[in-house]
Structure formats: structure tokens, C-alpha cells
Amino acid sequence: MTEPARETLLTIEGLTKAYPGVVANDDVSFAIGRGEVHALLGENGAGKSTLVKMIYGLVRPDAGRMALRGAPFAPPQPSAARAAGVAMVFQHFSLFEALSVAENVALGMEQAPKPRDLAARIARVSEDYGLPLDPYRLVGDLSAGERQRVEIIRCLLQDPRLLIMDEPTSVLTPQEVAILFDTLRKLAAEGTAILYISHKLEEIRALCDAATILRRGKVVATCNPREQTARDLAEMMVGTTLATPSRAEATPGAAVLDIAGLSVTPANPFGTALRDITLTLRAGEVLGIGGVAGNGQDELLAALSGEARTEPGAIRLKGKPVGDAGPNARRALGLLCAPEERLGHAAAPDMTLIENATLTATIRKGLLSGGFVRWPAARRFAEEIITAFDVRTPGPEVAARALSGGNLQKFVIGREVLQAPEVLVVNQPTWGVDAAAAAAIRQAILDLAAEGAAVIVISQDLDEIMEVADRFAALNAGRLSAPVPTQGLTLERIGLMLGGAHGMHEADLDEAHRHSHPEGAA
């Protein structure tokens, strides 16, 4: 042991929680010490979320005990957990866009101080911890990283003993991650314990003192992540060796998609304007567009799918100007898209899979005859998708909302892939999807490119982009960087292309840089 023994803050013994059909947590036990940064590691569906919800009082365990500073701890609801000194920053923020930072913080507190005092406290605490915030700004105007700061400040103002963070870095640029880690280290040094949930191994090895690894609801290991390699941790997490998708050597063909000077003002006042986007896409290549959420991904997809109209010449498909064409005109020419939001955008939740197949495939699959829908043909197409992409469902008559996230995503991507597009644009192809389905989707994208189609993958997951893309471009505040080959690209270079952190002062940028390079390398 390299550190002195810590006083134990939270012990968990035999915690179990079962839902119909699945045991989310099975006899989970571990302990967190005062001032310790403890990682909770596991794949999607391993049971991490359920476990922390029990600690935070959102869910009641079926069996097991918890003890906080020696006393029994069983919060019936979150306010009890907060009163005991447990605070949580969720993956999906509970923020109100049209209200100010101060109002948002006040809403998250039990006993909010007077508005003026609160504003002063927010300004002070946020500066102290390196997360500067203007209390009077509207949350809707903040970037994702800044919004996370609001959530963190909300927690810090309650002087927590244990701070739980659920997948915090999914919305941060590498520089913002460095700042966050500094904040967390400072908190830990002051005696606050941190329970850090993630599946990002390098981050955990950089930050955490201890790690508990969950797989299928059970604890499979407790270790010190600094003494393990990333590969060991990954294998403990997944249990088997993951198959990395196979990719044939890409020889890009002729240019199929030309975007020149694309600029779009968003319909929604809290949206991101696209500024002067330029890129050329060739047949057979996969272009990865990276960037944290809120930098224009949705707006870019809308401009490409035809939901947002622009200058005709701004987007050319095989030479034809399509910037002002609607979605179906583009489909006829071979440009297909798959949006991020599965339920409500890519698919209608209450409609059957047959009807959802009809949503986009009428043109390329000839599902219309004189304006009338050929339902038998639509059913056949839906069944084709279900079979080809291994969508687990009792049948095509089921409503889309009855499918699990991974299965619906397979259906939605499969629907576009089986229409033989010339250009396919997908936004966040594997978010919230289990590992097996994600691998299948990524392989489908690679196969499509191998057959000569051009693919754009917009994703927050940089690992995913490195896996499937030939070239990489970064989307930052509505601007696209010039694409570079993914071969030989480093994480740091990507971070710089992503534009660094938002709303930071120059000095902080230098500070962040120095922290990630303590040896003083430029």
C-alpha cells in the first residue's frame, strides 16, 4: 500500500436488486474511504447505474446493508441521501434551459440562500475549484461542459462527504477532462470521497485510487487501477477478448458528396449555428466527425437529411445541387441519414416496425403504387431488416417503443443500410447500445463502405471513430476542422482540433496544458 490507511466512509454489503427478468445487482460489496477516489467500472448494463441509485436513495435494495461513517444508511429518497452528505452528478443533467445558473442551483438545493447571497457563493466556489461560472447566464446558452459545472456546483454547495459522478467525461473535451480531474483531486484532498462511474479505462487509471469492477451485476474484482494495464481492466470488465472490427484497406473512389460553405442558422434559439462547413467525401471512405454534444451535430444532420434547407449549391451529391431539396428527394438520389434520437425522430415510438420501415423506405424500396402504400411489400422489408440485423423482437407488428435500445438502433441503422445508399450519414450510431449490438453496427458500417458507399459517422465516442473511420474532422461550435487521416492521430491532437474547452481564460488553458504534460513538453 502506498497510501496511509483511510478512515472508511461508506461500506456496502451484499446489496442486491432484481427486476422482472434481470438481476441488476447481485450481492455487491465494497468500501470507500474518506478522501478516496473510487472507480466503479463496467460495461453498459453491468449494473453501475442501479447501484448508485440505491446509494442515492432513488431505488430501494431488495437485500443487503449500507453504512455511512459506521451508522446504518438506507435513504428512502434523494433528499435523505443529500441530508446525509451524499451528492450525485447524473449523466443526464436536470437543468432548466430558460432559467439562469443561480436559479438552477437554487432548485437543486434543499435550503436555498437568498438570491444575491447565492450568486456570490456560486461565483466564489466556482472560481475556487477552477470551474468559473457566471450566475446570471441562462443555462440554455451554456456548453455541455459548462452545464456539467452547474451540476457540480449544485453538489459542492451542499458540502458533500461523498460525491458520485456518473459518466462525467462523455460530454467533455480532453482539456475539460483535465480541469475536471484537478477539481476532483482537490476535493479528495479536502476529504470528500468520490465514486467515479465510467467505462473509460485510461481516465480511471489516471485519476482513481481504487476500482470495483462489475460484470452482469456481480463484483468481479476490486483493485488499484494504477497497478493494472488497460488491457487487464478491459478483460475483467468484459470477460472475453473483444473482437475488433475487421476493415479492408480503403482505396477511395470518386467524390460523391461535396459540401461547400454550408452555413445554417438554427430554428431553435438554444441551438448551434453551422458556420462555413466544407468537406468532400469519396466513395468507399468513412469520415468520422467528432465533437462533444451541443456543437452542431444535430444541426449538421438536419442540413444533410433535408430537414433544414440551405442554398442549393452548398451541398452537392454527385455534382447535383441538393441543398434545398427535401428528405425524399435526397433519398431518391441516394443520400440517407440516421438521426441520433431513436424514439421520436428516427422512429415513431407507437407505430409498428412495418410502419417504421415505411417511414424512409418508400422511394428506394418501391413501397408506393399510385400514392397507395404496398403494405405486404413493407412487411417483407421489415422482416428483411429484422433477419439481416438480428433484431430481437416477437415480430414486425410490435411497436417501436417495445424494443430495447440496442435492438431498435440495429433496426434503424439496418433500415438505411438495406436501402443501398450511395452516401450514409449516421449521428451517434451506438450510444446507449450494448457492446454486442454496437460491434454489429460498426461492422455494418465498415461493410457498407467496403461495397463502395461513402459514410459519415458523427460521434462523441472518439474510440469508435478511431475504429471505423479513415479520416477525422472535428466539429466545434458549428465549425468543422479540415479532415485528417486517422492513421497516426493522437488523442492530444484530437483534443486540440476539438477546440479546447469553452469559456475558459487563457491562463487556465496553459494550466491545463501543463498539467497533462508535467515534464514540460510543449
Binding site: L58, S79, F93, S94, F96, E97, L99, A106, L107
Partner: protein, 309 residues
């Protein structure tokens, strides 16, 4: 001809004409700020009108009338709340149902109350203020409900702006999921907001039958509830603007009535149309500025909340 219209009388009657709509609109604004669209304002107003009338006539006290009107409106709103918040019914359809039912119910209850005069509502004695020439008669010689309605607008404004409860209500209207995640009881808050809106609408209806007309006639609201809904949109969900909108509409109504009486050479029906056409115009002007609407309209307006945690 037009010179025969007395401006002092015009402004004075403007305040009285605007009060029912002001009450209904400010109540609906609170409900909409919490994220619920209640199209049943017309139904709540008319039920408030008849119930208030009956209460006042049978007890001889106008105060009982106002109370009765408010309670009746709140009861109707509770019905709406039950259907939309608990039974998850479509808000537009339910609001319409409330209006249709309210119109029918009020006609039914009001059988036999036609042509009766209700007890008079007291004028507020503002002493020397009402003796001021011109302004005194215009502004300071009204019944107390007029001033109460102005006070209510100020109270709602202060409530939403400065109190914690007001902040929570606004939060629920902005994102009911986030509010729920933070532990606030979304359904309870919405039910209370709806009942407040119903009470205000009922009060406005009672004012119509007890002071403005003052009499009971079937269908006497003549679309006032719908106008109130339009005023909330016109006001961009801000209390001060609701006051402006209500008084503007009241002004148009009173003006066209005066023009009719003054024998202006326009057929009566076309003058009567004017308030409705002006409402449409005003709506168009406000809605055309899409970003303003998007910024001010509560984001959850009209969306049902179902706790799926």
C-alpha cells in the same frame, strides 16, 4: 356623432369590461407557466358566472357570489386536472370537453334565473381620490373587485419572480422531467396551478354576471374565455403584459359598443366583429416573432407528464 362619446365614461367602462378577462387570463397564465394548456377557460368562466349568480341571489351577498364563482371554477379545473394529470388524456381535447360541458351545464343550472337582478357589489370608497376631476371618475370610482384584480396581477408577478414556490412552478413548466428528477411533485404543482387558474376564471365569470352586465343569460361569456387564452399568448406569458392585453381588448370592446350606440353608419354586426378580428391580428403579430415565442413559452406547454422513473 362620434363626439357624443364621453371619454371619461369610456375609460371608466373600459376598466370594468376588462376585469373579467383580466382575471381569467392571469389565472390561465399561471397554469400555462406550470406547463399545462387549459382550453376550458370558457367553460370555467361560464360555470363561475352562473354559480356565482345563484350564490349571490340566494344569499343576498355579492361576496358569497364571488366566492361561489371561484369555487365552481376551481372544481371544473380539478376535473380537468384529474383527466390530464392522472389519466394522461390529451390536453387539447380535454379542454374542449370542459368548455362544451361547462356551457351545457351552466345553461342547465341557470334555468329559471333569467331576468333576475343580483345584489349590487359595493364601490370602493377611495375618499378624496375619487373626487379628482376627470381622473377620479375614470380610475378611482369602481367597485372593489376591479382593484382586487389589479392587486392579483401584482401578486402573481411577485410570486413568480421572487418566491421559491414561484421558481419551482416555472421550473416545472420548463422541464417536468428535470423537476421530477430533483424531487419536486410535478403533478401536485400542476393541479394547484390549474385550480388557481380555474378559480380566477370562475371569479371572472362571476364578475360578468354580478357587476358587468349584471344579469344571467345563457352563453353570456361570448368567447371571453378564448380571448383570455389569446391574451396569454399576446403577453408572452408575462403578468404585466397580461394586464396590457386585457385592457386593450376591453378597450376595443367598449369602443365598438359606444360606436354602435352613437349611431355610426356601420352595421352593428361588423362593429361587433371587431374585437375578434383584432385578437387575430394581435396573435399574428406576436406569433410571427418565432424566437420570442420560443424563448418565453414554457417549454413543456401542452405536454403530458408521466413519471417513468
Amino acid at each position: 356623432m362620434i363626439g357624443s362619446i364621453d371619454p371619461v365614461l369610456l375609460v371608466a367602462s373600459l376598466m370594468i369590461a376588462s376585469t373579467p378577462i383580466l382575471l381569467a387570463a392571469i389565472g390561465e397564465m399561471v397554469a400555462e407557466k406550470a406547463g399545462v394548456l387549459n382550453l376550458g377557460v370558457e367553460g370555467m368562466m361560464i360555470v363561475g358566472a352562473i354559480c356565482g349568480f345563484i350564490a349571490a341571489v340566494n344569499t343576498g351577498s355579492p361576496m358569497a357570489g364571488f366566492l361561489g364563482g371561484a369555487l365552481a371554477g376551481a372544481a371544473m379545473a380539478a376535473l380537468f386536472a384529474l383527466l390530464t394529470q392522472v389519466f394522461q388524456s390529451n390536453q387539447v381535447a380535454t379542454g374542449l370537453a370542459l368548455t362544451l360541458f361547462g356551457l351545457g351545464l351552466s345553461s342547465l343550472i341557470g334555468q329559471g334565473y333569467n331576468g333576475i337582478r343580483p345584489p349590487a357589489t359595493a364601490r370602493l370608497d377611495l375618499g378624496p381620490l375619487s373626487d379628482i376631476p376627470v381622473l377620479g371618475r375614470m380610475l378611482f370610482s369602481h367597485d372593489w373587485m376591479v382593484y382586487a384584480s389589479l392587486g392579483l396581477v401584482a401578486a402573481v408577478w411577485a410570486f413568480l419572480r421572487f418566491t421559491r414556490a414561484g421558481l419551482i412552478l416555472r421550473a416545472v413548466g420548463e422541464s417536468h422531467d428535470a423537476a421530477h428528477a430533483l424531487g419536486y411533485r410535478v403533478v401536485r404543482i400542476r393541479v394547484l396551478a390549474l385550480m388557481f387558474g380555474g378559480a380566477c376564471a370562475g371569479l371572472g365569470g362571476a364578475y360578468l354576471s354580478l357587476v358587468r352586465v349584471p344579469q344571467w343569460t345563457e352563453g353570456m361569456t361570448a368567447g371571453a374565455g378564448w380571448i383570455a387564452l389569446a391574451i396569454v399568448v399576446f403577453a408572452s406569458w408575462k403578468a404585466g403584459r397580461v394586464l396590457l392585453g386585457a385592457y386593450l381588448f376591453g378597450g376595443v370592446t367598449v369602443l365598438q359598443l359606444n360606436l354602435q350606440a352613437a349611431g355610426v353608419a356601420i352595421p352593428v354586426q361588423y362593429l361587433s366583429m371587431a374585437p375578434y378580428l383584432i385578437t387575430i391580428l394581435v396573435l399574428v403579430v406576436i406569433s410571427a416573432d418565432r424566437s420570442r415565442v420560443a424563448l418565453n413559452a414554457p417549454a413543456m406547454l401542452g405536454r403530458n407528464f408521466h413519471a417513468s422513473r
